[in-house]
């Protein structure tokens, strides 16, 4: 018989042994490495994601891969005068000239990997060397993005107080940007150069954010010019960023060209600095001249513009982007079906809206939407946001908010929007999300929904584990890190239920629906369901963000 003391001693011994095994010096070492005040964690994060990108080299790539290979071939093999006339392949050059020059530069490296990829006639050429080169080029140009993320992290505001590194805003921002799920999926699997382009955008934003801290950033006002220059370059690389040009234009005009404000915050017209205005104008014009100049000289401007703005494509892309028009299409379809049932309509044109080929189609019940109609909608939606930063400038952060709103407006109301365009809104929103609690909540909604809407881009079975695991990883990290940063719940019950519903939608579409007999007759239902469900979430975030920009603030923040 053992005494109570002996039993207690035994229990204590077991507990001590358990603790010794389950904790080890390793955890302490890891924590020590990461609480150092240096920025040594940043290369670790950047290298880690680069390693991950290398592992994705041989995964599925979409037709965008062939698009870029074709452009390498065109810019390398043909003279400049033929670039925008070439149409051997269906993937004609439809980005502005600066991007064509970028591809030209890449092609000089490409010839050392595989010369055959630079032959225009080799349509669909995808040798292992070609794949390796193209993938490595995306990974290499991401260096711009990494630099931009570092600059953004340096300009993030945080509360004072010693904190663990993992809870610092700049660390969370770096993780959310460098390891952004959307960028990984779209750039390194689907294949695009968004990292490079978004890097330039974020760098320009960072420059504007850095104005105001005279001690760390001494050449204060010059940063505005740098930001403007970067944006002009960006516009000439991909013209989709025209949608956020109003935000830039109004902000720079209001906060940079007008040097002083009246005491009530309104604009003082007399303080217009012509020097600054001319400097801005000349920067933008000279960049555009450099880019378009050769083509204007050759008289090819109309041809270039027609390639850049092809309005022959349909209202919606083959996979509906989760915007207003998806909801519009569904309502139209529902009304037409209802109309038929209730014998209010005679007959219907059989239009397949999510077919593989992009085609013009007419709506049955609601009025059809033309490109000019979408343009007007977009401009009308941008107007209040832009006016609000004219009337009540809230400094660089107000500008950033307006930028995100403009990007979202273009996503919601634009013509032939790709679901990838949601990244243009998610990435800048990350910067706002680590600074304000409300923005963090909006970010979580928008990012989760937006990222989920990218699922149809990778439809192969082999990519399924990758995309599911990565999105779970990113979503869980964003939720836990932001919750720890702002100490509390960021979403209400309804929002959480909606996000959990995304899981249900995925299970129904991937597991349940294929087992049902309707799969043969109505194959597009899963895509439709995903688009519509996601558009609800995106619209909700859009409205919330818009309200936050229209809400009057208590005190005008400094520039």
């Amino acid at each position: 018989m053992r005494s109570a003391n002996q039993i207690e001693r035994r229990r204590q011994r077991r507990r001590r042994r358990r603790r010794r095994i389950l904790s080890s010096g390793l955890y302490n070492t890891v924590m020590a490495a990461s609480t150092a005040d240096s920025w040594s964690w940043f290369p670790a994060l950047a290298l880690g994601v680069s390693f991950l990108k290398c592992l994705m080299i041989n995964s599925y790539h979409s037709t965008d891969f062939e698009v870029h290979r074709n452009w390498l071939a065109i810019t390398h093999s043909l003279p400049v005068s033929k670039w925008y006339h070439e149409s051997t392949s269906e993937w004609t050059l439809d980005y502005p000239p600066l991007f064509a020059w970028f591809e030209y530069g890449l092609s000089h490296v490409a010839q050392h990997f595989d010369k055959k990829m630079l032959v225009v006639q080799n349509l669909g050429y995808a040798s292992p060397a070609t794949v390796l080169f193209q993938r490595l080029s995306v990974i290499a140009t991401d260096v711009v993005f990494i630099y931009a993320v570092r600059e953004c992290c340096r300009s993030v505001r945080e509360e004072k107080g010693s904190k663990d590194l993992l809870v610092r805003p700049y660390f969370i921002l770096a993780a959310l940007l460098l390891w952004n799920y959307g960028l990984l999926i779209v750039d390194h699997i689907h294949f695009q150069y968004n990292g490079f382009l978004c890097g330039i955008l974020l760098l320009s934003v960072a420059r504007h954010l850095q104005v105001g801290n005279f001690i760390t950033f001494p050449f204060e006002q010059g940063r505005h010019l740098e930001g403007a220059f970067l944006f002009a370059v960006l516009l000439n690389l991909k013209h989709i960023y025209l949608y956020i040009a109003p935000a830039y234009g109004i902000f720079l005009l209001r906060s940079y060209c007008f040097t002083k404000d009246n005491t009530d915050g309104s604009v003082r017209w007399s303080s217009l600095s012509l020097v600054r205005l001319i400097a801005l104008g000349s920067i933008v014009i000279s960049v555009c001249a450099l880019s378009f100049g050769p083509f204007i000289a050759m008289g090819q401007l109309p041809q270039v513009l027609s390639r850049l703005f092809p309005f022959k494509r349909g209202l919606c892309h083959a996979y509906w982007a989760p915007n207003i028009w998806a909801l519009y299409n569904v309502v139209d379809k529902a009304l037409s079906v209802l109309g038929l049932r209730l014998k209010l309509l005679a007959n219907l044109p059989k239009a397949s809206m999510t077919g593989g080929l992009v085609q013009e189609f007419q709506h049955s019940v609601l009025p059809s939407v033309s490109p000019s109609a979408t343009l007007i909608c977009t401009l009308v939606s941008i107007l209040p946001a832009v006016l609000s930063i004219w009337r009540c400038p809230r400094g660089a952060r107000g500008f950033l908010r307006c930028l995100v709103v403009c990007a979202l407006c273009s996503f919601m109301f634009g013509w032939h929007v790709h679901e990838k365009a949601i990244l243009m809104a998610i990435l800048p929103l990350s910067v706002l999300a680590v600074e304000s609690r409300e923005d963090a909540g909006i970010f979580l909604m928008l990012a989760t929904t937006g990222h989920y809407s990218l699922f149809p881009l990778l439809f192969t079975a082999t990519e399924m584990p990758t995309k599911v695991l990565l999105i779970l990883l990113f979503t869980l990290y964003s939720f836990t890190s932001l919750k720890k940063l702002f100490r509390g719940f960021l979403l209400n019950t309804l929002e959480v239920t909606y996000l959990l519903g995304l899981i249900a939608v995925e299970i129904i579409c991937e597991v349940v629906y294929p087992l049902l007999p309707w799969k043969q007759t109505l194959p597009f239902v899963t895509l439709l369901a995903k688009s519509v469900y996601c558009s609800l979430g995106v619209s909700y975030s859009f409205i919330r963000l818009y309200l936050s920009i229209l809400r009057p603030t208590d005190k005008p923040k400094e520039l």
Partner: protein, 465 residues
Amino acid sequence: KDRHKRAGKPPMFGDYEAQRHWQEITYNLPVHEWYFNTTDNNLNYWGLDYPPLTAYHSLLCGHVASLINPDWVELHTSQGFESSAHKLFMRATVLIADLLMYVPAVVCLVLCILLYPGLILIDYGHFQYNSISLGLALWGVLGLGLGWDMLGSLAFVLAVNYKQMELYHSLPFFCYLLGKCFKQGMAGRGLFLLVKIAVTVLVTFTLCWLPFLTDPGQVLQVLHRLFPVGRGLFEDKVANTWCSLNVLIKIKTILSTDTQLYLSLAATLLAALPSSIKLLTKPTLWQFKLALVNSSLAFFLFSFQVHEKSILLPALPVCLLLGDLPLPAVWFLQASTFSMLPLFLKDGLFVPYAVTSSAFVFYSVYLLSALEHSSEEELRLRPVRRLVCLPRVDLGRIFYLSVAAMAGLSFMSVALAPPARLPDLFPLLVSVFSFLHFLGLLLYFNVVQIAEPPSPRRKNPKKTE
């Protein structure tokens, strides 16, 4: 930790087809035909050569496969079957096995183990189910560490019954438990403990082998499949003593198969003996971990018919030492991944290998500050100093040189063509280089284990476990 589950997607044959074939065999044929050469089961075409638990696991997977798509396990017609859906299924089975067996055990111990490239590349790239047997062995170690001897022994017996290579770890388990029984006194509690463990082991073995125990011929045939003694001292290039010795003296041709068998048996036992005896006299957890390393490494270096993949068996206990001896552990793990390079090249896994190895070295050095813990005190070499005067060397620099040499050799293997007279030059260089590392590390770990002073009679040992 989930992010490395996506190793490259190379063309798969070999082990992939073997696993698929075993699902086909176990699903379609009755138990007593699994290990025998029949009209339906041609043992020359990937015959079963693992213990019964592997067979039961394949049976389970076969049932699941037949539910999804019966073509995958159709007898005879499904040979060589490969489709992207099937690849996804097979990968998913490895992932599930990982999540059920290996990851929980590892999470309890050290998270850094999951970064170890060797296991990821072999299981997901080359394709095997090592994570099940290694996971079970880890549960065994965990059980013994927490003082649950019977559960630990149960887990280990299951591991042995999954892959017979786990016998590499059997000596330390045996000596540790026996030593523990001795320590508790053979007159009372010790004997009771011994009986309990013996009964657990015997019952588990019986349950696993139950379908085969009806006929002694069955048992013999299974053993014959598990231990192919007719196959020679080694096959291909492997980083152990015999292959490296073969470069200088052609022992494979000089000695007869029987002599080779006895020679390797003697050498293995001799190499594993010191650490086992030390463990018997001082059965603590720290000694146990070191003995696991020493015994499995000794078996790897001197045993019969060793495959390069068997380096995973010493690698697992070395992972357990990552917290206490970071520099030697990282060095060993890097060398072990490097030693499997010829295998990865054959499978087209060079890019995943390069990426995961670089990531592992970088993160080990960064997170573990491995190079900062290279003082004598931390390498546990203090007791040796009293006997032998150790030269002062900058281990950090040597480590970097070694890693650079490995990187250089890897690059040369893939970029350059070997000279016509020596077609196997690069695999040979890789295995000899790795062998030298393994030999050195075997000596080091043995010294650390044996040089530790024996535990005093009454006091609790102060050294960490």
